[in-house]
């Protein structure tokens, strides 16, 4: 393979050898002399007043160095960060300290920590802490919690609703659309959808090592995080250290899915304890803690009304969202609905009028926040289920209904009724490819045959879009750029330092591919470094499918700057005008006379070592780019899911899954496919199996993997995947993110297939055997 063909080549991930041979370093692999261990005391109640905490027995336990409660943090450790406090949150509602003070508000709420010289000792002493709780009534159901008279998490605010907001001033316009549609013989379909609560369950739970060196007053924090720089900045502010005296190192991360896009109490507590005691402090979350106290995803109730003409043209949509935030705000808890769901709630369709309102509500459950897709799966589920409801009402094929309403390829850039501007797309081409791959006509015939035999077969379509690659500029109260610093060493090898924090997405490979392509040098000569705030430029981290479109664009831009400088140096070496110098296949030459050239390595050596550089040229080869997107990017595609449901047991099986996705240019199709496979599986998990269940008293009933079901390879068919390529015009690589698309597209495809199999209007997820059995047998 030629180096020039590096981009778009399906090379294997460079990360994998160390991962699959067990030579990668995770937080728990870090061992330091004098290390202490932290154990966290958590509330067994969902809502209770703390009358007293007796720590005496724990403090006397052998090996225990300290026990801390909220009282010890007062004036020393600030509150847990919320990025954009909205409504009553801006007045303090839902903001918590690192340890519960006076009250606990969810099962798993941390209220004390034990620091001991062994992990066992810390855990044993935890059981010796005696807390006098006064249990309080709980608010668990988001709709009931929003009503007057519900038990209150924050009594001083007199309500659990932090924010009630309409994106439109009044409902006059949408009411008029609905009335006109009905008057003209059209339909208005209504439904209530529950988008259930999910537990992210990264294979590696959270973990942190905090090491405060008293002599140089510097805190080093290793954390399994998606956001090293944000973590560094927030921890510094929260524990009262200057930013340059805090270093965050993110070692290998065993999955995040949004759950590590946060600043957690334990990161603050370990830092505090290390600063107090002058020893490194380690905390590794156990699985049950992770399920109870790491953020959860989704959890909302949607009321949707959608209107369409008799011919199937959608005329307007109205949606109300009850967003269940759980007990406290984490970093992005309160912006999921407004910033990530509402902008794309029209999906792939040209819907003239949309009306959106929401109530964001606190309940006695774990905080919700970003989980793979974050808002966009909720939007996609709502619109894709709604389109099927319209098709059912009009007795139309859901494919035909979608085709009729798609935004057309000549409408881009397309401004949706939500105000969101879609960068590029060609929805019908992706759909047709999926239909062909699936043999859609054949599937419908097979379904008719099976139905005649009394079998329940269903076919579900989902034509999703998503908005990713955040930024853009002006979207958030802070700049959501990404950064890259590239250094060409004197030997001609290249170091790329990125502010992104890839943790499974494979950018150590794809970023190197970008540089390899741009410089025309072998990928082996390039190393990509990330995840250390002392050695990487300020960045915003990896989430929201932003690393390649935003971070990749920064790498590309920095490479261009270096190329220009190297051309200038080469022009002196070649005695030519800089504008005539070209770089191809690792050689600088003068346009028109390729025989006269200097190599990439020659120029690198000259730039770094020569003492005869022209006085106008600064020595060295290093360039930094901070790249800030002007727009989101909008991947899209069509997924088709085929299911069969066992009438006797209600057990559903996915028999086929077809996905055609478009993420613009693909830097590495192998990695794109990997992301699609993982994403689809995670979305299937929500549809089929997953759901955090709290008992009536607020106990988490799905607190271990014995009770919380997740998809396994054995449950799934072999996916048939393909892609179309519609480049994005908003970044120099023409790429769109692909980390979340599979998850966003798959959940509604499965839901539509199940509903189709059973021939009903709607069923809430997850599609457990008993739930389907009851519907089949009308219990």
């Amino acid at each position: 393979m030629g180096i020039a063909a590096m981009l778009g080549t399906p090379i294997k991930r460079r990360e994998d050898p160390r991962l699959i041979t067990g030579q990668a370093t995770y937080v728990d692999d870090i061992k330091m002399s004098g290390m202490l261990y932290m154990s966290v005391v958590r509330s067994p109640y969902a809502h209770a007043r703390i009358n007293s905490i007796n720590t005496e027995a724990a403090k006397k336990h052998p090996g225990v160095k300290a026990v801390y409660t909220a009282a010890d943090l007062k004036g020393v450790v600030g509150p847990v960060a919320c990025a954009v406090p909205l409504g009553k949150i801006a007045e303090g509602m839902g903001i918590r300290g690192a340890l519960a003070d006076g009250k606990v508000r969810f099962y798993g709420d941390p209220l004390a920590i034990v620091i001991a010289d062994s992990r066992y000792g810390a855990r044993d002493a935890r059981d010796l802490i005696d807390v006098d709780y006064e249990p309080l009534p709980v608010a668990l159901d988001v709709e009931k919690a929003a009503q007057p008279g519900a038990p209150l998490l924050y009594e001083e605010f007199g309500t659990n609703v932090a924010l009630s907001l309409g994106m439109q001033e009044s409902s006059e316009e949408i009411d008029k659309v609905f009335a006109e549609t009905l008057a003209n013989g059209g339909v208005v379909v209504k439904e209530r959808f529950v988008n259930q609560r999910l537990i992210p369950n990264a294979i590696e739970t959270r973990g942190v090592v905090a090491d405060y060196n008293k002599s140089i007053k510097k805190l080093t924090l290793w954390s399994s995080s998606q956001i090293p720089h944000i973590l560094r900045n927030v921890v510094a502010a929260t524990v009262g250290l200057p930013q340059h005296q805090v270093r965050v190192i993110v070692p290998e991360v065993g999955g995040g899915f949004g759950s590590k896009l946060n600043i957690y109490p334990e990161e603050l507590l370990a830092s505090f304890a290390s600063m107090k005691l002058g020893h490194p402090v380690k905390w590794i979350e156990d699985r049950s803690e992770s399920m109870a106290a790491t953020i959860h995803g989704r959890d909302q109730v949607n009321y949707i009304e959608i209107a369409a003409t008799r011919e199937g043209k959608v005329t307007g949509m109205k949606i109300h969202v009850f967003g269940d935030m759980g007990s406290y705000t984490q970093l992005f808890t309160d912006v999921m609905v407004l910033a990530f769901m509402f902008p794309v709630v029209c999906g792939a369709y040209d819907i003239p009028v949309v009306h959106r309102t929401t109530d964001l509500v606190f309940t006695n459950k774990a905080s919700t926040d970003a989980y793979r897709g974050a808002g966009r799966p909720e939007a996609t589920y709502a619109i894709e289920r709604a389109m099927d409801l319209v098709a059912r009402e009009l007795k139309m094929d859901p494919v035909e209904l979608r085709k009729l309403n798609f935004v057309k390829s000549d409408q881009f850039p397309y401004k949706s009724a939500t105000g969101t501007v879609y960068d590029s797309g060609n929805y019908i081409v992706a759909m047709n490819k999926a239909l062909e791959l699936a043999d859609y006509k054949g599937l419908r015939e097979e379904q008719a045959r099976k139905r005649a035999e009394g079998k329940l077969m269903g076919i579900g379509i989902s034509s999703y879009i998503e908005a990713c690659g955040i930024g853009p500029k002006g979207f958030a109260p802070v700049g959501l750029y990404e950064s890259a610093r590239i250094r060409v060493e004197q030997s001609g090898t290249v170091v790329v330092q990125t502010g992104s924090s890839p943790h499974g997405q494979g950018e150590e490979t794809t970023f190197a591919q970008i540089v390899s392509q741009e410089f025309g040098i072998p990928i082996e000569d390039i190393v990509v470094m990330h995840g250390d705030t002392d050695s990487t430029p300020e960045g915003r981290g990896s989430y929201g499918s932003r690393t390649t479109p935003v971070g990749g664009s920064a790498v590309f831009t920095a490479a261009q700057r270096l190329k220009e400088k190297m051309k200038l140096i080469a022009s002196f070496m070649l005695e030519a005008s800089p504008s005539d110098v070209t770089l191809e296949d690792g050689k600088f030459s003068v346009a028109g006379s390729p025989q006269k050239s200097v190599s990439f390595a020659d120029v690198a050596l000259t730039a770094n070592l020569s003492n005869t550089l022209h006085p106008s040229i600064e020595p060295g080869l290093e360039a930094t780019s901070f790249w800030e997107p002007t727009s989101n990017v909008f991947p899209f595609g069509t997924h088709i899911c085929v299911v069969e449901v066992d009438k006797d047991t209600g057990k559903a099986e996915i028999t086929r899954y077809i996905a055609v996705d478009d993420c613009g240019n693909q830097l590495n199709p192998l990695l794109v496919e990997g992301q699609i496979h993982g994403g689809i599986t995670q979305g299937i998990g929500q549809a089929m199996y997953e759901g955090a269940i709290y008992g009536d008293d607020g106990q988490l009933l799905t607190a271990t993997l014995m009770d919380y079901a997740m998809p396994l390879a054995a449950d799934l068919p072999s996916y048939q995947t393909d892609s179309t390529v519609t480049p994005s015009p908003v970044n120099p690589l023409g790429v769109k993110g692909i980390g979340e698309a599979g998850t966003i597209g798959s959940t509604p495809a499965v839901a539509n297939a199940i509903v189709d199999a059973l021939g009903v209007a709607h069923i809430d997820m997850p599609f457990t055997s008993e739930k389907l059995w009851k519907i089949i047998h009308q219990k």
């Binding site: 992990r119 066992y120 855990r123 044993d124 059981d127 156990d286 699985r287 049950s288 006797d648 047991t649 057990k651 199996y689 269940i693 009933l701 799905t702 271990t704 993997l705 014995m706 009770d707 919380y708 079901a709 997740m710 457990t768 055997s769 008993e770 059995w773 009851k774 219990k779």
Partner: protein, 287 residues
């Protein structure tokens, strides 16, 4: 998840294991494969202060043909049973059911004796042992005794074992000619334990009439439960679809059915019928 402190004792013989158990009494637990015990210890639901490891005892892992009986040492692992030609020939129910247990790591380490002694009502082995009408050999301070499987499983995690007793062997009587068996399981998607399972063993005569039937339901109740009403409806009849369906409809008769987030009482009762019908149908086909 780390367990509370405990002392670990390696028993070199059954006698030593029994003596250690006498010494430490209620504070001690026998450790077999550990795949049920260790998770509960890590969650601190169980906090024994002494573990007596049976894993080093010579000669508790074997499969022997002894006349009309096959004897299985209590510490025989699932994987050993699954691969045994003797077991495959006489008791194909076991490898079929064992394939449904946990994952490969669990099958590599888990033992049949450990599972039977633990008596998890949703586990697979107790139901199969009961369906095969096995005899459990236990030894304690007062010597050895045998307990029929029908008298062994008493309640939730409760068996006929006396304090200090350890299972040493499980004996299976070789089946009559024209005996078929099958295991059906509707698994809890998270734990892969049975929401409801059914182990069925039927024997037919030359004319296809059922002469013996053993049908056991797991997962639905507090213990693996013999579906006597189903068996009574099968014996003496030709096992056509209607007969099997009619018999299976009694699968939950008289059973104390449990309910949790993985299955309501109503669902489990109905699934007992569905699993029984499927298991009996396949068992009859194989007889």
């Amino acid at each position: 998840m780390v367990p509370a402190a405990f002392d670990y004792h390696v028993a070199q013989s059954v006698d030593e294991a029994i003596a250690l158990m006498q010494q430490y009494g209620d504070d001690a637990k026998f450790l077999a494969g550990g795949h049920s015990l260790l998770p509960t210890m890590k969650l601190r639901l169980a906090q024994p202060t002494h573990l007596i490891d049976l894993g080093r005892i010579q000669d508790l892992s074997y499969i022997r043909e002894v006349g009309d009986t096959v004897t299985v040492g209590a510490m025989t692992t699932y994987i050993t049973l699954q691969r045994s030609d003797v077991i495959k020939r006489y008791f194909p129910l076991l490898p079929e059911g064992i394939a449904e247990i946990g994952d490969q790591q669990v099958r590599n380490r888990g033992t049949i004796g450990g599972s039977v002694a633990h008596s998890d009502p949703a586990a697979d082995s107790p139901g199969m042992v009961l369906a095969l009408k096995a005899t459990i050999v236990a030894r304690g301070p007062n010597g050895a005794r045998t307990i029929s499987a029908d008298n062994f499983f008493l309640d939730l995690f409760a068996t006929a074992l006396q304090p200090g007793e350890v299972i040493t062997e499980i004996r299976f009587a070789k089946p009559a000619a024209h005996t078929g068996s099958a295991y059906e399981k509707l698994a809890n998607k998270a734990s892969h334990y049975a929401v409801v399972g059914c182990a069925a063993v039927v024997t037919l005569d030359a004319s296809g009439v059922c002469t013996a039937a053993s049908v056991v339901i797991t997962g639905a109740s507090v213990k693996p439960t013999r579906a006597s009403a189903v068996e009574a409806e099968l014996v003496g009849k030709k096992l056509d679809e209607a007969t099997i369906a009619a018999a299976a409809s009694h699968a939950a008769d008289g059973m104390e059915i449990v309910s949790d987030i993985h299955g309501s009482k109503e669902y489990r009762a109905q699934m007992a019928t569905v699993m029984a019908k499927r298991a009996i149908t396949r068992a009859a086909e194989r007889a």
